[in-house]
């Protein structure tokens, strides 16, 4: 049994759980069940769900925000200022949502079964010029942010600009944008950190949600032994991913902030509350729109908020 797995870019922290999963599954089955992980060779990243639906490959990674209409239910996890603080919390809320029948039904349209998430840190922003630490400071700020996150910044008076990620460095260099919102590993690899003088350490405006899915027929066609090997490896793979991200990327991030003397902007609780209030309309609108499509949107949203409150001990 050999599965083709479609991911994109280069091997990096963001794909380490897939690599680990392949390794574990192969070990557990004595090399009978292997995975051939292809970085962009099998599909374009925004077409991975299509490939799964066709049956061209058996496993794939994608990000919900790339194409909201393909996966309206999962985008609940990309709403702004949900209050996710770290990767463990991101994993917990994601997997809870993936287990919901409405979400599974949504993905079943693509003949896809959700296997696990690829937890991404919050898209905190790096910026040039004077640090901005209040809602008022965001007025007129040109920020590179796409999709829902862009909407969130628009809600607080900023001007979101769509620049492709590989042009983000130049866009900052030429003041096309003042700030860029990325996860830390992307700030590092697209070198936006090299331009930055400040970073919002705790703004936590939101993130993208990028699940790993498998083709249902392929999954059901596995022998019991192979399926068991796959299922039982998920938790370990995720754990490996989170460890790796924290011990490598985030540690390197802290070092670079220090080396380059980048100001860490910490927002006060009142300021954060103002951000939440200013962007609540986006969540409300999401709920309204998705409910109209017959999705239990309110329920999904409430589940996420309740889970986070529980984890924050509130």
């Amino acid at each position: 049994e050999e599965w083709n797995v479609s991911v994109w870019g280069k091997r990096r922290a963001f794909t380490e759980h897939v690599e680990k999963l392949a390794e574990l599954v192969s070990e557990k089955t004595d090399g009978e069940f292997t995975m051939n992980i292809s970085y962009g060779g099998l599909s374009k990243n925004t077409e991975n769900l299509d490939g799964i639906s066709i049956g061209a490959f058996e496993m794939a990674q994608f990000c919900a925000g790339y194409h909201e209409d393909k996966n309206p239910t999962i985008t609940v996890l990309e709403l702004p200022f949900l209050g996710v603080r770290n990767l463990e919390e991101e994993v917990a809320v994601s997997h809870m949502i993936y287990d919901h029948p409405a979400v599974q039904e949504d993905l079943a349209r693509w003949n896809a079964k959700l296997l696990m998430t690829s937890p991404m840190p919050q898209y905190n922003i790096v910026g040039t010029g004077d640090p901005r630490s209040t809602v008022e400071d965001f007025e007129g700020m040109r920020v590179r942010a796409t999709g829902g996150l862009g909407e969130a910044f628009r809600a607080v008076g900023a001007v979101p600009t769509s620049v492709p990620s590989n042009e983000a460095y130049n866009a900052m260099d030429s003041n096309v944008v003042d700030t860029v919102a990325f996860a830390q590993h992307a700030h590092l690899s697209f070198r936006t950190i090299d331009q930055a003088t400040w970073w919002t350490a705790n703004l936590n405006p939101g993130t993208v949600n990028c699940p790993i899915v498998v083709n249902m027929d392929a999954y059901e066609g596995l022998s019991d032994e192979h399926r068991e090997a796959l299922d039982s490896s998920v938790d370990e793979a995720i754990e490996y991913y989170v460890d790796n991200y924290q011990n490598n990327v985030l540690k390197q991030w802290d070092q670079i902030l220090e080396e380059k003397n980048v100001t860490k902007v910490e927002f006060s609780e009142e300021e954060l509350q103002k951000f939440r209030e200013a962007t609540q309309g986006i969540a409300d609108q999401w709920i309204e729109e998705k409910s109209a499509q017959g999705i239990p949107a309110q329920e999904l949203y409430d589940m996420v908020k309740a889970k986070l409150a529980e984890m924050h001990g509130m």
């Binding site: 083709n4 280069k10 051939n36 292809s38 962009g40 060779g41 099998l42 599909s43 374009k44 925004t46 077409e47 299509d50 490939g51 066709i54 049956g55 061209a56 620049v163 492709p164 590989n166 042009e167 460095y169 130049n170 866009a171 260099d173 030429s174 003041n175 096309v176």
Partner: protein, 465 residues
């Protein structure tokens, strides 16, 4: 049969289809589709009742490629870069440039041919496509050279070779394609092409002067222009410099002030020349003509892109790129020898493929191997094999490969520039043009050797940005 074997068989089949005269885009698409069907059916051990499944999956996988690969922002630079060239023609810039070049350089031995080379170099600064540049100059420069008694084949060769400058001097469609395939910064690559482009033009010019000095009845110098006439000739060509300034500014952003991205710079330059053409009285039928020509050339390029990408998608399933990279790294010879062999392989391949098809077809396989040879994507200059950092190696190799690809635009049997020149000039056959362009092979070989030996020619400008 292993998937790599299937990959090799299908690649051989592709070569046969191309040799049989099937259009390159559709030959590649057919090979890719057949390969996909083969790969998926092989997965089911060639069971008859699974053939329709394999066919369906393969067709749907291939059917994604045209839309999904073409709908990209970076590729949008290509039609804009082509349009800008056609608009410059209608704005009268081509003639103005040619006139200025003639007045300033005509006194040299082989003066009209040298002028043509430098006029194409100037025009290259507003034209993104070699083919379009050759087409435009075939219309204005060849008749003038023929009037002076140049050999018609050589005159055609000058224009076909001069056109290749358009792909090095920014804006350049093919550098955009390279940047997209290897995921490198478009702006820096465009910038890096500038000096090698000018360098190539100087080598061409030197070659022509040398030929004119050694061969009798080559073509007379044109003398007798006053300095006043020379200075006045710069006026009409001036907008070129302005547009160059815009495009370079957007690529380079030298003022540290907000300007924009290369995409926007190209479009802005095109808009300016468009406005000029309108002011010069371009009629609707001329505009329609320019738009149709742009659409046709862009469509042709895009068709090759998606056709070849269906084949590349198949290669992805066959896992051929990884096998190749492992093989290259396992070679027991010096990396520089390997690099030179790769460049030579491009020269051979270019005899069978057109430039864009060749780059699209090979880079997914060759680029990772070359980067690995240098020591990886992020290697520092000190630790590297070729003495340059990873990103700089990507730029250097890009310029080398694009120069090779341009070289192939003038090599038989499918040197596109030569076809275009022959297509525009009724008095010339393709064979005539290929014969006339032969001396420029030598010039290009010298240029490429220079760029390999002195990477600074390529890397100096982008290292400033």
């Amino acid at each position: 049969m292993t998937s790599i074997e299937i990959g090799l068989w299908v690649s051989g089949g592709l070569l046969v289809l191309v040799l049989l005269g099937m259009r390159v885009a559709f030959a590649a698409g057919t090979a890719g589709l057949v390969g996909l069907i083969w790969i998926f059916w092989e997965k089911k051990d060639y069971a008859w009742d699974e053939f329709s499944w394999a066919l369906g999956v393969a067709v749907k996988t291939a059917g994604q490629v045209p839309h999904s690969k073409i709908a990209s922002q970076e590729l949008s630079l290509i039609p804009v870069f082509i349009l800008i060239g056609y608009m410059a023609y209608y704005a009268g810039l081509t003639k103005a440039l040619f006139d200025a070049a003639k007045k300033w350089l005509g006194w040299l031995p082989g003066g009209m041919a040298v002028s043509t080379v430098f006029a194409t170099a100037g025009f290259s600064a507003v034209s993104g496509a070699s083919v379009a540049t050759s087409a435009v100059f075939a219309r204005i420069a060849i008749p003038e050279m023929l009037k002076l008694g140049y050999d018609k084949r050589f005159a055609a060769g000058v224009v076909a070779a001069g056109g290749t400058l358009a792909s090095l001097i920014p804006p350049s469609a093919i550098l955009v394609i390279y940047a997209i395939i290897v995921e490198q910064d478009v702006g820096k690559l465009l910038l890096a092409g500038f000096i090698p482009g000018v360098f190539s033009a100087v080598v061409y010019g030197g070659l022509i002067v040398g030929l004119a000095l050694t061969m009798p009845k080559f073509g007379p110098p044109i003398r007798g222009f006053t300095w006043g006439e020379r200075l006045r000739s710069l006026g009409p060509a001036f907008p070129i410099f302005f547009v160059v300034l815009i495009i370079i500014s957007f690529i380079y952003n030298p003022f540290g002030d907000p300007l924009g991205t290369p995409t926007e710079g190209g479009a802005l330059g095109a808009a300016l020349i468009f406005a000029m053409a309108l002011i010069k009285g371009m009629s609707w039928s001329q505009l329609k003509d320019a738009l149709l020509e742009t659409a046709k050339l862009a469509t042709m390029i895009f068709t090759i892109i998606w056709g070849v990408l269906i084949y590349v998608r198949f290669l992805g399933f066959a896992n051929l790129p990884r096998a190749f990279s492992d093989w290259i790294q396992g070679l027991e010879q010096s990396p520089m020898v390997t690099l030179i062999m790769i460049l030579l392989a491009y020269a051979v391949l270019g005899m069978f493929m057109d430039a864009i098809g060749m780059l699209l077809l090979t880079l997914p396989v060759v680029y990772p191997a070359v980067m690995a040879l240098n020591g990886g994507d992020l290697v520092s200059a000190a630790d590297s094999t070729f003495g340059m950092s990873g990103p700089m190696c990507a730029i250097w190799f890009g310029i080398l490969v694009v120069k090779m690809a341009e070289f192939c635009l003038i090599t038989p049997p499918i040197g596109l520039n030569c076809f275009v020149v022959a297509g525009v000039r009724p008095e010339l056959s393709v064979q005539d043009v290929f014969r006339g362009v032969t001396p420029f092979f030598v010039a290009d070989a010298l240029t490429i050797a220079g760029l390999v030996a002195f990477p600074g020619i390529v890397l100096w400008l982008p290292s400033l940005a």
